[in-house]
Amino acid sequence: MSTLEIKDLHVSIETEQGSKEILKGVSLTINSGEIHAIMGPNGSGKSTLASTIAGHPRYEVTSGSITLDGEDVLAMSVDERARAGVFLAMQYPVEVPGVTMTNFLRTAKTAIDGEAPKLRTWSKEVREAMEQLKIDADFANRNVNEGFSGGEKKRVEILQLELFKPRFAVLDETDSGLDIDALRVVSEGVNRAQETNEMGTMLITHYTRILNYIKPHTVHVFVDGQVAEQGGPELADELEANGYDRFLAAVSA
């Protein structure tokens, strides 16, 4: 059993007008096997939270902590966090010129496991995972994310989730831009990873649609850089019916 614990996290970014605080004291604990949905309007800081957990250099933590089984995550470099078992499925996956998917997947897997995967079983594992996610076989020879459609990029993020087997996954709007078939395929991938690896999951989303496929244990409503309210799955139903108005009103009041 592992625990990812975020305590009173404050995060700022540098803008042309100076430093701007985006996260204003976020506290959140995720244990292995749990799925936490983070739901909030655009601009509320969801991606900032996700990127900060992964260690993107643009985001500056001004106070608070993130720990993984008591270890200080904020002291780790980006790659160390990944090797410690934290995975971020990005809202906007980056195209990497010159590096084929095959080469990338093998290199990352080797880095994460600390040893190269057995060639034969690895190729098979990659091929099968791609099939399940309905990713065309020739994607293996293409450069990472280069020229992939939005939906294809999201599938490839989940492909990595399944292959790298992290202890904790942060899925940043993995559902956005997916049609209904793709949403189902991607959700199945997340559920498989969840079941096989006892993964703890932070599922960031703007819409409730994906919650028909991935069942959260806890729902956090995220507004203006803070968790405004948390509850069970029924909180998502309320958002579905009434939107974020109630929470937004509370913030501006």
Binding site: D79, A111, Q160
Partner: protein, 441 residues
């Protein structure tokens, strides 16, 4: 993460070009933008073929002289052996506008070679004849036509030329190696090499430049009918070397020719690599790989002269840049003359900028004087490896240094592969790792 339209330092030089027409075919700016890469280019095959019905207006009967990117037609560029026809460049001239002229003083002057400027070693299999050619002795100057000041001063001052000759029908498995080692950064060398290959022969020539010198070297290659010839020119100089040169080839009927330029070391490198055809049915390619660090200027100019019908050409140059003042230039001229019907031609340059401050210029010039061609295309792109690329790879557990190596290796591998000599491919891969280490990655 998002599109990276040319920011200062990544500018490709023809960005401001507006739509232009060559023989009625639009060849100007039509940009495809791929996130993370800027790319421009097009393939003219479809247009030119359909254009023969005159619906695009006067293909094949153009009244005005075809021009591209505001540059004078390559067909009218002066070539010749008279030094007086090539005044010392000031830096504003089209051929010199990217070049740091001042740093070339040691190789552009009309001066003889210094004693012991370079050591030259040739190793060749038995079937190959290695000799020398006095000035005026055939086949010297039968292919090479000096096209700028650098080439003409070297021709005038080179003295004896190295002559390597592969007889007809000989198939040489081991590469012929010419090892040129500069002895002193202050010493001038004018060099001339003639590579001659007979009908249906097969050979690989490796010209390797190491050490340091003020080196001005011309190379001419006679590719026999039906021959299969590769010329690999490796620029692995020390940091203070200067190298200018012109490499010309004439490609025989049904022959296959490949020139590969690899430029890694040297303060200033400026290589003009060119070929034309002797007849029909040939396939000719030029590949290039360059890696510029801070303080280096690496310039390659390629010219494909489709001077006869039904030949194929392909040019691909790829470069990586890192460090504050790293500077690279690629200018790719392709001229499809009126008589070159049935031509199939493509050229591409791609650059990868690894750190801020580096600058890559990339200028494809395509001139088409006939509409009756198979295809003609060009592409040019400059991509930036930025913190988002790095973040993505590191977020997958890959350490920073390995992430950079992964990207650079992947990008340049395509060119290394074209060399086809295992030992060289391996040692170049090693050199590239060292290049990355130099910058502290």
């Amino acid at each position: 993460m998002t599109n990276t339209p040319a920011s200062p330092g990544t500018a490709t030089d023809d960005q401001d070009a507006t739509a232009e027409e060559v023989a009625g075919v639009e060849v100007g700016e039509r940009r495809i933008s791929i996130p993370g890469m800027t790319e421009e280019g097009e393939n003219l095959a479809a247009e030119t073929n359909s254009a023969s019905d005159h619906s695009h207006g006067g293909v094949g009967e153009s009244e005005k002289k075809p021009l591209t990117s505001g540059v004078g037609s390559r067909a009218n560029r002066h070539t010749g052996f008279d030094l007086a026809d090539f005044p010392e460049p000031k830096g504003r001239e089209e051929e010199w506008r990217f070049t740091p002229i001042k740093k070339l003083a040691g190789v552009l002057s009309d001066a003889a070679s210094d004693a012991d400027a370079v050591e030259q070693q040739v190793s060749a299999p038995d079937a190959v004849t290695v000799s020398s050619l006095a000035e005026g002795a055939a086949p010297r100057h039968s292919v090479l036509q000096p096209a700028d000041r650098a080439a003409v001063v070297a021709v005038k001052n080179a003295g004896e030329a190295l002559h390597v000759s592969v007889p007809a029908d000989a198939e040489i498995d081991e590469p012929v190696r010419v090892q040129i080692t500069g002895q002193d950064a202050a010493r001038r060398e004018n060099s001339h090499i003639v590579l001659e290959t007979g009908v249906n022969s097969k050979a690989v020539f490796v010209l390797e430049h190491r050490g340091t010198a003020q080196f001005n070297g011309n190379v001419e290659t006679i590719v026999g009918e039906g021959a299969d010839v590769r010329v690999i020119s490796l620029q692995r100089w020390e940091d203070d070397a200067v190298h200018v040169g012109q490499h010309d080839a004439e490609v025989g009927k049904d022959a296959s020719y490949k020139h590969v330029a690899v430029s890694l070391g040297g303060a200033v490198i400026r290589l003009n690599t060119n070929f034309r055809y002797a007849a029909e049915g040939a396939e000719a390619e030029m590949y290039g790989l360059y890696f510029a660090d801070s303080g280096q200027h690496i310039e390659h100019r390629t010219f494909v002269d489709h001077n006869s019908p039904r030949n194929t050409s392909n040019v691909l140059y790829k470069g990586a840049l890192q460090g504050e003042s790293a500077r690279t230039v690629w200018v790719g001229d392709v001229l499809i003359r009126a008589e070159a019907e049935g031509t199939d031609s493509y050229e591409k340059n791609q650059n990868l900028i690894l750190t801020d401050g580096a600058r890559a210029d990339s200028v494809p010039n395509l001139e088409i004087e006939t509409g009756v061609i198979e295809g003609a295309g060009h592409a040019s792109s400059t991509g930036r490896f930025d913190e988002n690329h790095l973040f993505y790879l590191m977020a997958r557990g890959i350490p920073e240094r390995e992430a950079r190596q992964l990207v650079v290796r992947g990008f340049l591998h395509e060119i290394i592969q074209t060399i086809g000599v295992d030992s060289i491919e391996e040692s170049l891969a090693e050199d590239l790792e060292n290049e990355l280490e130099i910058a502290g990655f």
